[in-house]
Each structure stands twice: as C-alpha cells, then as structure tokens.
Symmetry: D2
Subunit: 391 residues, 4 copies
C-alpha cells in the first residue's frame, strides 16, 4: 500500500516506469531511514504527537526493522515504491493505529534527505579513513626511495624518485580529503521539519531530532533544505571524483610503468588476470578498472547535473535518479581506495630498470644550472646545452 | 574456473573489484552469446576444427543453455567473471573434451562483440518498432486538432494547434529513427575472426559465421573491429539520446501544460501519483521520469566517452564499463517510448483552456502581415503594430 | 538599431549579458546569412512581396555585404546583437524603404537555421574531403608494412604490423564518415517558411528558396524545424566526436610509440616543441593537442545537451549557446584532420625497435594453435603453453 | 622567439595548431604573470642569482609591461606562443643580458601555475563579494513578503511566500560560498620552485616568493604542485557550477513565474528583448541566458575532466585547454551574479496573481494536521482529507 493510498490503484506500468531500479538503492537506505525515523519519533514525542508508550513502541519497531534488514529479511521490491512506504506499512501492520502516527509533521521529502544525510556522512567518513590508510601505505612504500626519471609530455625530463612519486599522491589525497570534509559538512544538517519544502504552519522542534541524529546544524529555510539536495549530492560526487582523479593518475602511471618497455614496477600474478586465448598474458586489470573508475564517477556527476538542471523550485521526481548516482560513486570510490592500498602493498619496484632509464639527457637542466652558477645567463646556458643534446 | 586458469587463484578482492556489477549485465547477454557461439561452432566445423558430431553436440549444448537461462536456471555470479567463462565451463562439464574445443580461433574480445552486436541489433530494432507505434498514436491523437497558442521564450507567440504540436514530435522521431538505423548498421557486422584484435596467423572463414548470424558484412581489419567497439556503442547511445531528447521536449511541454495555471491537458489519476503528506496532490511523475531519462542516457554517453578516451589501441579492460552504459540506455529508452504511447493514448485535452489563452496579442504578427499586404514595408508595419501592443 | 526596435533602449548591461561572445561567431555566419537571404528575397519576389527591381536591389546589396565581409569591412559588434540585425540595418541604410521589406514572411528563428544549415553543410563536406585525404595518406604510409607487436591491456599480445595499425584508422574513419553524412542530411533541409516555429497564416512558397539554396528537402512541420535545431547540432557534434575519437586513438598510440622506452616512431623536430628549462626536450605537443581535442568536442556535446535539455517547445534564448559549440567543434575537427595528414606524411618508423619488441611470448597464441592442429583441444593446448611462459 | 629557441623554426601549421586560441586567454594573464615574475625575481635576488641592480631593473621592466598591457599596448599573438614567452622576450629586448636571467630556477610549468593561482584568487574573491551583494539585494527584496503558493512536481503544494522563496537562494548562496572558499584555499599556495614538476637539485627559497605574492602556503611536493593543477581548476569550476545551479533555479522559477499564465513577477521592458517578427513580444532573454549559463559552466567542467583524465604524471600539453575552461567559467559566473542583482532590484511582484493561485487545495496538508490535533492518526486524517479533494 502506498503512503498516498486513496482508494484506487496506480497503473502497474506507470508504477514500474517511475520506480525503475530505485528500490534497489533504497535497500541500502533502510537502516538510515529507520535511524532518522527514530529521531523524528522522539521529536513527535517531545511535541506531544506521540505518547511515551507510542514513541517507545515505534522506536522498538524501527530497531526491529534494522535487525531484520541486516539478516536479509526486509526486502524492498519495485511495487513497494520505496523504503519509506514499506517501513511505514510494516510499522502499521505491527503496531496498528500507532504506526499511522509516525508520518505527522514530516513529508517523504525531508525524510529521504534525513536518511541520505546520515548515509552520506557515514560513508564519506569511512572513505576519509581509508584514504588515511592509503596515505600511510604509500608513506611506507616510499621509504626505499629509488631514483627514477621524471616525465613531462611522456618524455624523460628530469631526475625524480619513487619517494617523490608516491609523495605526490599523498599530497593530493590530503587536498582531496578537504573536498570530502566540505561534502560531509553539507550533509551535517537536520532537514527534518522542512516537510515538502514549505515547512509547517507552526514551529517544529527540529533541534530535538537534530540532537538525536547527531547533526551539527538544522536547516534555516525549508525550501533551501529541499532545493539543496541535488546540489549537495553534486558536491559529494565532485569530492569523490577528485579522489578518483588522483587514483586515475596513479593507475595511469602504473599502466605505463608496468609495460614490458618501461618495466619499472610489477604486481604479483595473483593480482593480475589472464587472456582467454594468449597463455602468456599477465594483465593489470585491477589498474585498468581503477583508472576507468574516474569515468564512472564523472558520469554520475553528469547525471546529477543533467537531471536537476533547468528545473523550478520544489521537489521534482526527476531528482530520484540522483540517489543511484551518489551511492554508486561512494561505492566505486570506497572500493578503489581500498584496492589502491592492496596494490601499494604488493607493488614490486625494479630499480635497475629505473636506473637504466636515467639516461644522460635527464640531467641536461642540471648542466644548464651549473653553467649559470659559473656566470652565464640562464637563456645562454640553455642554448649552449641544447646544442650538445641536439640530434 | 576462469578461461585463463593457470593453476593459481586470482585474489578474491581483485576478482570482486574487476568484475564489479558487470556479471549482472552479462546475464542479459547469455542468449546472444550462445547464438554467437553456435555460429562460431559451425565455422569451426566448416574449417575442420570440430567433427560434425562435435559441432552438433556443442550447438545442442548451447541451445540447452539458452533454455535454462530463460527458465532462470543459468545464473551468472561475480566469481564466474562473465557469461563467456560460465558458458564454456558449462559446456566442458557437460561434453567433456568436446567443450574444450569451442574457444579455438576466437578470443573473448571478438566473442563479446559478436554477442553485443546481436543484442544491439535486436533491441534497437525493437525500439524502432515502438517509435513507429508512438508515431501512430500521436497521429491518431492529433486528429481533433484544437487551436492553442504557440510559445517562444515561454511567452505566447503565435497561433498553433494540437495537430502542429503532435506533428512536431512525429517529425522529430522520424529523424531520430535515422540515427538509430545507422547505429544498427554499425552493429550489422561480423567481428568473429578478429580474435584479440590482431586476427589469426591464417584466414578464418568468418563469412560462414556471418551468414549463420545474419550479419550483412564482415570486418575488414581486426584491430578496427576491436577499437570500434566503444565508438559504435557511443553511436547507439547518441541515437537513443536523440530519441530521449524528443521525449524530453514532449514531457517538458506536458509538465507545463498540466500545471493548474496552464491547464491545457490532463492525465487520468491512475497514471498519476500522490504525496505522502498533501492529500490533494495529483503528481505527473510519469512525465518527470520521462523528462529526466534524457539525463540518464546523457550520463551513459559521458561514461562511454570517459572510459574509452585517451586509451591506446587494443582491448583495455576499462571498456568493460561501456556495456552497462549501452544496456541501461537501451532499457531506459525502450521503457520511455512505450510509456509515451500510454500517455498519448490517455491524454485528455482541455480545449476551452487553450482557447482562453489565445489572447489578442497572439495575432499581432498576423496584423503586421495584413498591413504589409496593404502596401506598408514589413519593418514599418511591425513598428506600427508594436505601438498598439505596448503596455 | 535592433530588429525589434520599439522606441526605447535595451539596458546596456542586459545587452552585453545576453549577447555575450555570440557576435564573434556571427561574424563567420555573415556570408551564409546573406546567401540565405538572397534565397528568401527571390521567394518574396515570386510571391509578389518584392518587385523585380526591389528583389534585384536586395540581392545586389547582400552580395556586396559578402564581399565587404571578405575584406574585413563588415564587422559585427556586441551592440549589433547579431549578424541578422546588422545585415537588415545595412540594407535599409543603403536601399531605404526596400530594405525594410526583406524580413516579411520570415523570423530570425528560421533565418538563423537557414544560415547554420548552409554553414554546416559546407564545413561538414569539407571535413569529409579532408578525411578522404587522410585515409589516402595512411594508405600510402602503410605500404612499407613493418612487423610490430600488437598490444592488449598495454601488454604485448600478438604479432601486428604497421599496415594493420594504419588500416584500423582508415577503416574507422570510413565509418565515422557515415555519421557525418547523416549530419549533413539533417542540415539539407530548408527551414525558411517555418518562421518563429509556428509558420504563417498562409502557404509560403518555400520550394522556391529551397531550390535557390540547394536544399534537398523542405521542412514539413514548422515547430519541428525549430525544435530540431539543437538536436541536429548535437548530431553533427556527435559525428565530429567520432572522428576525434579515432584521432584520439591515433595520437594516444603515437604518444606511447614515441616514448624513449618504445621508440617505434618519431617526428622531425620541426613538428615538435621544446621546454623552457630542459634543453634536451623534444615534445610531441602536436600529438597531445590532437589527443586532447576529443575532450574539446565532447565538452561541446555536453554544452549543447545541457542548454537544450528540460526546455519546452519553441525557441528559447538558451539555444544561442549551441552555435559556439557547433562552430568550435567543426573548426577543431577540421584542424585536427588536416594536422593528422601532416603527421602521417612526416612519421618515421624505426622498424628495428619494433622488431626488438617482438619477443617470443608474442607468439604464444600461435603455439597454442599449432598444438590444436596436432589434435589437442584448445583449452588443454592453452594450459600446456601457459606453463611454458609462466615466470 | 620561443623560450626553447634552438636554431630552427617550428612548423607554422604545428604552431597554429598547438597554440589554438590559448593566446587570447593569456592576454588576461599578463598582469598576473608579471606580478608572479616579480616575486620570482626577488627570490633570485635573495639567492644571489640576480644582483640588486638586476633585480630592480627586472621588476621595473615587469611593472612597465603591466602598464603597457592595461593601455592595450602589449598584445599576445598566436606566434608568440604564450604570454610567458612574450614577456621574457620583451625583457631581454629592453634589458639585454639581464633579461636572459629571469628564467633561472623556474620552468614555464610552475610559472603558469603561479599566474593562474593569483588570477584565480583575485577573481574568486571578487565573485564572493558579488554573491554577498546579491544576498543583500535579495534580503531587501524579500521584506515585502507576499504570500504565494509553493510548488512540488510543478503542481500547487502548500503555502509559501516571497520571503521563503528569496530566502532559499540566500541560504544556498551561503553554502556555495563555502565551495568557493575551498577553491581559493587550493589556489593560495606558492608553486614556484616546483619547476617542471621535479624541483631542482638544491633547495629553492620559495618562502621568499610566497611572501612576496601573498600565498599562505608553499607546495611540499613538486610533482603534486604540477599534477594538482587540473584538479584545482576542476574544484574551482565545480564551485562556480554550484553558484550557477543556484542561479539556474532562480531563473527557471522566474521563467515560469513571468509567463502570462502564472504572472507572479515581471521585469521592466528595458531588461527584456523583442522579437524580429512578433511586435507584442516581451521576452525574458536575461533570464534565459542566466538559466543556460549553468550549462556553459558544466561544459567547462566536462572539458577539464576530459582533457586531464587518463594521463600519466607530469605536465602534458593537453592541460593547456583547461585555462579557457577556467577563465570562461569565472567570467560567466561573475557576469551572472552581477546580472542577478540587477534582476532582483528590478523585479516587480504581482501579489494579487499570487493570491489568486492560493486555491483551497493548497491548504489540504494543514487540514490534515488539524484533524491530527483533534486526535486522528496522521494516516487516517490524510485519507479522510484526500476524499474531500478527490475530483
């Protein structure tokens, strides 16, 4: 039964068309929606909309749903429409009249944002922790510090080292983490009480639910709470894309450095795949998938932009699509940051190949500086040295 | 067991990371992969790599898999890696030594393209047929031909009609169909024999498999057959995006025309949804989801571009991600074209509201032309009329 | 003076804000707009809206503007709003009352589409011709046919050759040309007579202008003629992106093949750039810019989608932005196809480096087939060979 | 003369192809590059690479270039390659040997990042200030606080007000400003001393240039300083896109609210444009261009992603294209935020039209709450009220 059940049935095809695969993503929100609903129930209690007993029963019912879901016994299907509908229906079935009281002073609009905020905070914090572990693994790996050439335009340029190379990723991840922290801040706000985007005719005690749910702030404008949803999701996906672009650079470098022609690094065969037809192949699919995952997150960014642009204020169903884009980006990035740790830990350097690539021209810029220190102007020293290396 | 099984196990996390959700999409390819494999087996028979008996056994085994799959009894899991691996393993289990012969003279690379080409041809042709039905439904709907204002810049501009409005979509869909026809042509080519992208040391009789599989042409360059994969997928998704942009315009118009303020059209309540909190609401979610589906297909276009750009020749695992983008675009467009038919058939016009909106200024351009026919220059007639309508 | 001049001035900031840089692109449309206006004038003559003398005067005036523009003496500025305004104003200044008659039976909306169609047809045909020259240059270059390894996953896979490599691009360009041909077809239609998107109260003789302008077809629905504009531009940019993706693959391969580590090809220093600090550098910037130009065209595709999605029927000013996206894509692709010819003609192969890279494992798949021909099943032969090459 | 001049000429077509239109954007960097070079010169002085006199001469020469550029007398052309080349050449022409010393201990790579950081900081801070002015203008405008309906799914939903509506943008802009502040922080770092991305064989005193240039931090890893460039540009463009999405919502709302059918707001005719053919038209092009500018900034985001993804570490020429994307986004957003202020200040509300749209069903949710306060469960109260409003 739909939340908006009015005595007639929604056309089955329209139901399938509008729900799409959204219900699969809602499965992952069940826990967060129950937590948010507990916060809401306590506020209803505080405001006198629920008796203490009713509030307790609802909270217990919601906790029960969380534990059912963890055991795989609370499955959202396409005809359930979404997790919110199923949860209210379940409560009403179990608690009777009491269950029918939970939706007072809220709308599905502020409800879904509350669940998404909790989900996003949890997952983005987990990603921050994994980034931290990755930085540590890189720090450990760079301690050997083998000399290697640095490249520009994919041509040998100047002397570099594995320490400088690993260090560049550590540094970029540090900055990427700031973008994630901002995305967390945008989610650290209680949307409850904003209702359908236009609040309620009287003041809702949303500081109660804010405290219950651990939100640092409460929304100050109901319409902004609604309209900011896709925008905050875009911010989160942007921050994740920054992480993935750092890993894309890492994987792109390694795809080059593990070719037979470069041979700077290798991975154990257990982390590589083979070919169905060429028995000699040792393919670095883990690196290719990591490289391509930036494209996945970028496509999600495009999706959120595309479905939310050029729409007037207030909830529009189009925005349903942003949920999958956000969740898929989070899962993709989390998996990539974890896999990057495994790669770093298993990466074997071939310092002799690096050394062989440190051919004399890599030191040409140093020669220029030596001439400068002997009194030549930089540009004259440059041209003199250029002659020596011209073929 | 992997196709490239060599006596050690792929790290479980690397397996999960590289396979991702691809196996879910491979489920939908099982049928097409079996059909393609039958074509390949017949070619192996023709070339003497399989005896008549072996060929017959393999073809029967593959047909059996198709029927198992249709009954939901042939499920690809993440550790199966993909449908191709599972199918060969199944054949070998059932047929022993004979099963181990099916992969001669092919690679997973040409195999997957063969399956995708068959899948794409079938689905794109189905979409063409549904577009045709939609055009017919619109043709029928426009027969009432109510006058309505035409808008530019979202302001009333000149007289239009429901016939002109429906007609614009019929005409655009006609052109969109040409883009789809080109995408079908790109898939109407036999990739078998291109192997891993570098062919085989001797001539493979791919005209045999081409004929078996109903492909109009065979590839002429093995590397192009491989490198063209993402490009042809991009062409298909572009064609689908053109269809979705036509439907996006249709849905955007209707979202405006069904507001309380315009009131030109309405849909029966069975095709509308309600609000969890506002009992009066009759929301046009079917139109909003249709409108937003152009964004979904655009995001898929972005994905195919993003993961395939800046990569060197030859198969790269990155391209695995394009499969989901292609299939999702096809499913989204197919569902949208079907739903559009239902909407057109159920759309109720409110001609009196349209008439009320045909206010005098809508005829200002006609007045100009009347003055021109009386001998005024166009620009002077324009300025004279402008004065009349200036507020 | 604006076409819609009504006795008051448009706010200067609003003028600058709305015109943006569009006037710079309009400069390139002057010629095409004059040609289209000549076609329109002849239709007005045929319909009796212009006397023979007036028609002649207007056509002469328009031809004069074309020649002025070619000499750099007809410059569109931001306050001109666009080329259409400036051209009518110029005619009126030169021809007096006669000039004020040119805009009868048309709107700026069908006028700009007519000019863009003529521009697009001309430029896309030029690109087709340059692609043809590039294919010929590649055909010539592949005649030496040096053996080289083929790569998958950026690892040595199977034997390939420069002939196969060049051939893959020739083949892909052949298919890309089909996408361009479809884009040309979409532009080969006379939009004149569709006016502001709602036609005129009586039949306009647009077959006259169609014939004058060499359009194969005339529009059949005025609103479709208008709404299809951004869609046809998207089709053109998609086709151009397909070309650029082929060149992106070509450039990506060459960036790899020109590294010190691969060393398969090189370009003469006159086609390379240097570093401001490292005197030894020989950078392949021409390849990098070619590689990156696919990104430029993709961004233009994104732009056309983004500004035209989620908009109702009829002209919306948003679409002004698609002009720059279309023109920039055409110029970028044209320059890239031309530069690719120069690169192909100047590319020097190093066959000995290619040969050195043809290490024994490149022939592993061939060994498998040899065992198969001796009676082993493919999969057993594969596993036997795998052992030999395992490290 | 190029910085890397070595006694032969770069092919003219290769020069034009690689420089493209980049030189036009470099014109806007001249001032910032000179400022950065002054900081670098002072560091060279401190390190003994320049005498006090030389340092003074160079700084004076650079200041002279700034003033020439402001007078339009220092124009970068395509064959100049970029502003950096032209500036060094100019110094050398004016100062002889001294000018040839400026490029010691830097590369064009760290030089261009220094100029871009200074440019970005200045412009992003300017945008922050304009956002602040816009918020104030909105605050002032909302003081009248007319009641109006709030919409969801583009249907009348619940009571809202002009105060709530304006307030939603004020609130979102507050959050958008945080994203811009982070982008500023990413640019508030001295890249000088990172050279070509691999530093120098000895410690460069970059704290000196940092202090001179007002950078809060100095880079800690030379390669990261280089690789982070496109990433920080992406962050800036993302922040600008957030601003534009807020303005897109504002413009989308107003396009709806200024239709004849809604009639909630209007703008004076001086801010509107007319039609070339329909004399009655009053078009809100300023709103349409504002609405579409989010698409422009999104396309720039796509461009930066597209050209920088899948590239190995170290400078690659592809990244040249990000400069135009960044600058165009900054200019577009700045112009839009300014125009938004003018719109807000000139917007005329029609409170009677708003009132007329506050039809009884807008208060349905309130009725439900009244029943709840009388003891009904929320869901039963909802269903009872639904019956009343069902048609």
């Amino acid at each position: 039964m739909k939340l908006w059940e009015k005595g007639y049935s929604l056309d089955k095809e329209a139901e399938a068309f509008t729900a799409g695969k959204d219900y699969l993503y809602d499965q992952k929100l069940v826990e967060y929606d129950c937590i948010a609903s507990i916060g809401h129930a306590k506020m209803l209690g505080e405001m006198g909309y629920l008796t203490k007993k009713e509030c307790k029963a609802i909270c217990a019912g919601l906790k029960k749903i969380i534990s059912l879901e963890k055991k795989g016994k609370f499955n959202i299907t396409q005809s359930d429409e979404d997790c919110h509908t199923k949860i209210e229906a379940h409560l009403t079935k179990k608690l009777g009249q009491t269950g029918k009281k939970i939706h007072a002073l809220r709308s599905r609009n502020d409800q879904v944002i509350a669940a998404l905020n909790l989900y996003s905070k949890a997952k983005l914090n987990q990603i921050l922790a994994e980034i931290n572990s990755l930085q540590k693994a890189m720090k450990k790996a760079d301690s050997k510090n083998f000399p290697m050439p640095g490249y520009t335009h994919m041509q040998r340029a100047m002397p570099s080292s594995t320490k400088m190379w690993f260090g560049s990723f550590i540094e970029m991840l540090k900055k990427d983490s700031k973008a994630i922290a901002l995305a967390i801040e945008f989610n650290d706000e209680n949307p409850l009480g904003s209702g359908a985007g236009y609040g309620f005719p009287f003041k809702v005690k949303n500081h109660v639910s804010a405290k219950q749910l651990g939100f640092k702030a409460t929304h100050t404008n109901a319409l902004a709470a609604q309209n900011f949803r896709a925008k905050k999701e875009l911010s989160a996906v942007h921050a994740l894309l920054e992480v993935m672009l750092t890993l894309n650079k890492f994987a792109s470098d390694l795809m080059l450095f593990t070719t037979a022609e470069f041979g700077f690094f290798e991975l154990p065969k257990e982390l590589c795949t083979g070919s169905s037809i060429m028995p000699q192949k040792k393919n670095y699919d883990v690196l290719e998938i990591m490289r391509s995952n930036s494209g996945i997150v970028f496509a999600n960014y495009s999706k959120i932009f595309a479905v939310s642009n050029n729409l007037p204020s207030g909830y529009n169903r189009d925005v349903q699509h942003t949920k999958a884009a956000l969740m898929d980006s989070i899962e993709t990035t989390l998996a990539s940051v974890k896999m990057a740790q495994k790669i770093v830990k298993n990466l074997k350097a071939n310092p002799e190949n690096m050394k062989r690539a440190l051919t004399p021209e890599v030191y040409a810029a140093e020669e220029v500086l030596k001439l400068v220190s002997k009194g030549e102007t930089f540009r004259d020293a440059y041209r003199k040295t250029a002659k020596k290396f011209s073929k």
